[in-house]
Assembly symmetry: C4
Homo-oligomer: 364 residues x 4
């Protein structure tokens, strides 16, 4: 009998075996030359740990809290598009997998299942990822998210402009499944003959003004996803943002940027403790979680790996993928002599000398 996958890379390899080529490539690809995608991983690997032994780590607290919500370990599910790329049960399966691992899933505006269906299927906490398309639509989505029990709004800010991946263009990739959150709008659009709102070219941009409006619209905590520089992090805090998900969008929208993990120290410093910081893009090993937390992040999130888990074994695959990370992270805690995720220090790491302070940040 074939052995269960024992690492996220196993899930990746097996997902490739079972997925149609176009879906596999949709999941795997990065923008343009995929330099940012590669850098995300390389940066995690360039960071090394400085293990402390001779400490009693028999008891290790790896559970944590993100914006007041308890999760069993500091790994969350990043919001990603159309999970039916990987499994017919789509986001509902992902939510069940995350729930089995007692962690949080961020559900995407562009899910195949509706947010209400996901909320119904979920056994763990949910945040709603918001892609702003129009004021009306955003208000509709936010109010529904509140009603459905989502505990925070994660506003994606790093996709201001369409940016199809070249592998998807070459594959003539077509997104599978429906837009679960927009069934009503689609029906209206179909009746009126107008394009659905999210296809309109006249989408208002997302600026600090939209953020203020959104801040006033809902009492839910707000997370900004995709913010990349310390300057903006300071501004975000001033605008009442509660969390920042440092992300390169997996390198999927814009190439030739720094890696996520490289940006964390500057952004953490800029928040002055007034917002939580999370990071995704490139997390593949439990040690990456420890590294992110030692740099000041509260938790990490995974994107591509959730598709891999889903593709290989549905909700169980997502759950098992998360459990691999949990075990690896827990082991990294033990090896680093740490008893609690609450006080991991930068001293646990050896930071490459070529990492910051970046010249251009001297004058912040």
């Amino acid at each position: 009998m074939r052995m269960d996958p024992i690492s996220l890379y196993d899930y990746e390899a097996r997902a490739r075996e079972v997925l149609p080529h176009n879906y596999w490539e949709f999941i795997e690809a990065g923008a343009m030359d995929e330099i940012a995608t590669a850098r995300n991983r390389a940066a995690f690997e360039a960071l090394t740990m400085r293990p402390r032994f001779m400490r009693d780590t028999a008891e290790r607290k790896i559970a944590t809290t993100v914006l007041g919500t308890d999760i069993s370990f500091p790994v969350m599910i990043s919001p990603t598009d159309a999970h039916s790329n990987a499994h017919p049960d789509a986001e509902c399966a992902t939510a069940r997998g995350a729930g089995m691992s007692n962690t949080l899933m961020m559900c995407s505006t562009n899910s195949n299942c509706s947010m209400e269906e996901v909320a119904h299927a979920a056994t763990g906490p949910l945040w709603f990822q918001l892609s702003h398309r129009s004021y009306d639509l955003t208000e509709n989505l936010v109010k529904r998210a509140e009603a459905a029990g989502y505990r925070a709004i994660v506003l994606t800010i790093d996709a201001p402009f369409p940016s199809p991946k070249e592998r998807d263009i070459r594959n003539r990739y077509e997104r599978p499944g429906e837009y679960g959150n927009f069934r009503e709008q689609l029906k209206l659009a179909s009746e009126s003959g107008e394009p659905p709102p999210w296809e309109a070219q006249e989408c208002p941009p997302i600026t600090w003004r939209e953020l203020e409006w959104l801040r006033s619209l809902t009492g839910l905590p707000l997370v900004l996803k995709g913010l990349r520089v310390a300057e903006d992090a300071r501004k975000a805090v001033e605008h009442g943002v509660n969390g920042i998900l440092v992300s390169t969008h997996g390198g999927r929208r814009f190439d030739s940027t720094m890696s996520s993990i490289e940006m964390v120290p500057g952004i953490v410093a800029a928040t002055g403790g007034k917002a939580e910081v999370y990071v995704d893009s490139g997390v593949r090993r439990g040690s990456d979680v420890l590294k992110a937390l030692a740099l000041g992040a509260t938790a990490v999130a995974v994107g591509r790996p959730l598709y891999w888990g889903l593709a290989v074994n549905g909700a169980e695959g997502v759950h098992h993928m998360l459990e691999i990370l949990r075990e690896e992270f827990d082991r990294a805690m033990a090896y680093c002599g740490q008893n609690s995720v609450d006080n991991l220090e930068e001293r646990l790491l050896n930071i490459p000398r070529e990492w910051g302070p970046f010249r251009t940040e001297n004058d912040i």
Copy 2:
């Protein structure tokens, strides 16, 4: 039906399919071990961007002005030898392609078409690239360029000595097509039995003295192409030069130098704002344009890619190649939160720490 190329690398790959091997290699090769050619690209890739989101970038001004001439975006066509390497219509086709994209072409002294033919074919602005061979010939070329409506003289200074590429020697490469600018001289030479002037070994060198003479010869703006160090940039400005095209000649003439883009910051600083700075050698992505401008360049230029566009689809290919760069650059502007090419700042970049200030420039 085969898909249109979606990146400059697609054009490169398809050009290889359609070109005779010797012409393909002529275009692709660099000098000697091709280290400089590789470094040109590597340096662009090592520079990363620091995107700013949350800004309204719905309106983006990417048109700019080079020495008073409007171009629709800051990408120009570098002067390169003998476009009939790639297409029978040679420089006339290139000029039409550049014009379709409303940008500027620099036409080479060693074009197959004459500068007058190119001027006739062109719908966009032209600069004339000058290879100094003799005072008489240079005066003849400059006066004709003025008469034909060329708007600036681009004096190439980085080819003081013959330096055939080794791939060309191995291929026994023979330059195709005629010397369109020298038909009269060729006829005279043929009648007199003497070699044409550009083959003479006694060419006067190009020095600051020749530059003074040239400066006095014409009222057209002067651009120096190939200048590599800050010291010389300061001197150029003192000699009344209006623009500097930072270039390694695509790594085609002299190997083992720095990359073009690495040299830009020092040269921009040295000009003190008294000359415009452009850069070619290694530009393959719209993000490269943004990077160059953020370092202080006014525009970039492309060399090899114009051959690729020409080879694949003539004027249309050149045009489409430029439009790909335009779309990529425009998207990079949006992702970096920028509304205008006029105020891109170095802060948009994360400059590798191993880049300057170079030890040897401490004492400039």
Copy 3:
């Protein structure tokens, strides 16, 4: 006739030929992505030597003393698990090989032969590597080691938690041979039906408190194996530790750490001369020995290479493998103009600029 191996890499290649795949991989593999294993070697290779010629090096003293025990050259045998992975005579053969080279072997708690059998077979000095499982068991092991003539206790501290290598999991690797040191305990466990103590999950952790207890338990010198950071080295000295074996466990237990040799300078400085420092993980050439000593180590140890020697030719193979290192080291001494291992200086090396002082150690 086939030539004798002439380098440790030859032994590696030949071991691969003769070993069953699973045993070969057990020996070769590192933890997870094997980044630490690779870094161990890369770091040695990045260090370069600054040879001094013009000195009379006809007489070279390479014999040294570790914790009062003479060895014929500063290379020891690291303690490693189950030598019957490589040879049926297991640790007894290794001990004979080390003795033929007049150097020291550290014998593992998890040996196949019992420590008494190894002591009987050995002709050279022995240290006993201790894996703490329970107070009773440790006391039993230490007392037996004293009785059997072991000259120091090497406490392994860098395996606080099970961490099977992924290659071993994939191979469904099963450890060969018996637990020679636990025959009595196994018999008791078998009779009582309880698991043997080293399989218990309730093993007490190894902390500074256990170290104090162990320090009071025996008059033998104590060595800590696996300590990684300067902070802990200072603490170890305060706790009466006599030696520190800087080790990454060959990268076999925990990935993504610094290399052993990179950690040596900081640890040597932290001991203030109050403990000897040794290093293993990545030693493959005699020049590595010189490098380690020039950074302040007293001796090095080899792990994987002992298996290779054993696999190829039993005790003779271990001996010959050591003799290759001796000859290479001796030659490195001559080339570096050194007459004695007692006064090798850091000035003999060119240390990569990207090596420390590490940012996180500034405040030690």
Copy 4:
């Protein structure tokens, strides 16, 4: 017809075609893992030039003088063992080739031809490379060198100990040809039944004392070959040495050292202008010559390339190989805007930031 080689790499490739495998490998191999050999080349490639255009370089003086002897360009032939590895005419052919290029050959103690035969064949200047074996033998060799018209003694100091290359051991390489300089000694040894002096294990070491003795023995200029560190260079000058040939012995004797070219700046500084500095190991391009001179060397020398030239075409091959370097160097001078080898400055280079000052040289 096959094209003539156009670079030293062509000579290398063709030499491989024509040489017996064992001789090819003897020439190509470096010591142990060949890291030093690779680093020699990589360091030259990491150095980049900062070309200066706009200067009149029509007249370029590339002839120079080494210890008072004129050579037509600053490239010499390094002393290497047994040229009959490459050609039956051995060193006599090499000397003819060097003479055709009007440059200097250093003839090895271990030549196949005798130094007198080489002197007879040579049309250019010669230096005699001395391997010290015994006082008698050295005196014999030096006196013969004086008598035969050699103009300097090049004492090799970086081979204090036998160090066969691993490729040669694997190949059971046997040195071809005779020891041309020791025919008389061989005859005597043969008659007496004793081993020839250079095979004696009791060779006296070469130390500063032997240097003093040698200095008093001859009025010829003295060059030290293989000195690697600034400290020793200062000492050499104090001992009346006239030249230093910075060399890693092509990485053939001792691995894991710095590259030759990296060592040049420190050694040049240490000589304080009181000795000339040359460099070999890794020179393959004319630009390498310019780089070495810009760092303060007076000339370079080539080792492996002379074998390649010899193997491909005897004396003509050596000559042509040198002419390729001459043309490349001359072109590099023109591109760098230089008129004379006498005043090349470090400012012509961009020195990698990771090069010195080395930490360990701070306290020199």
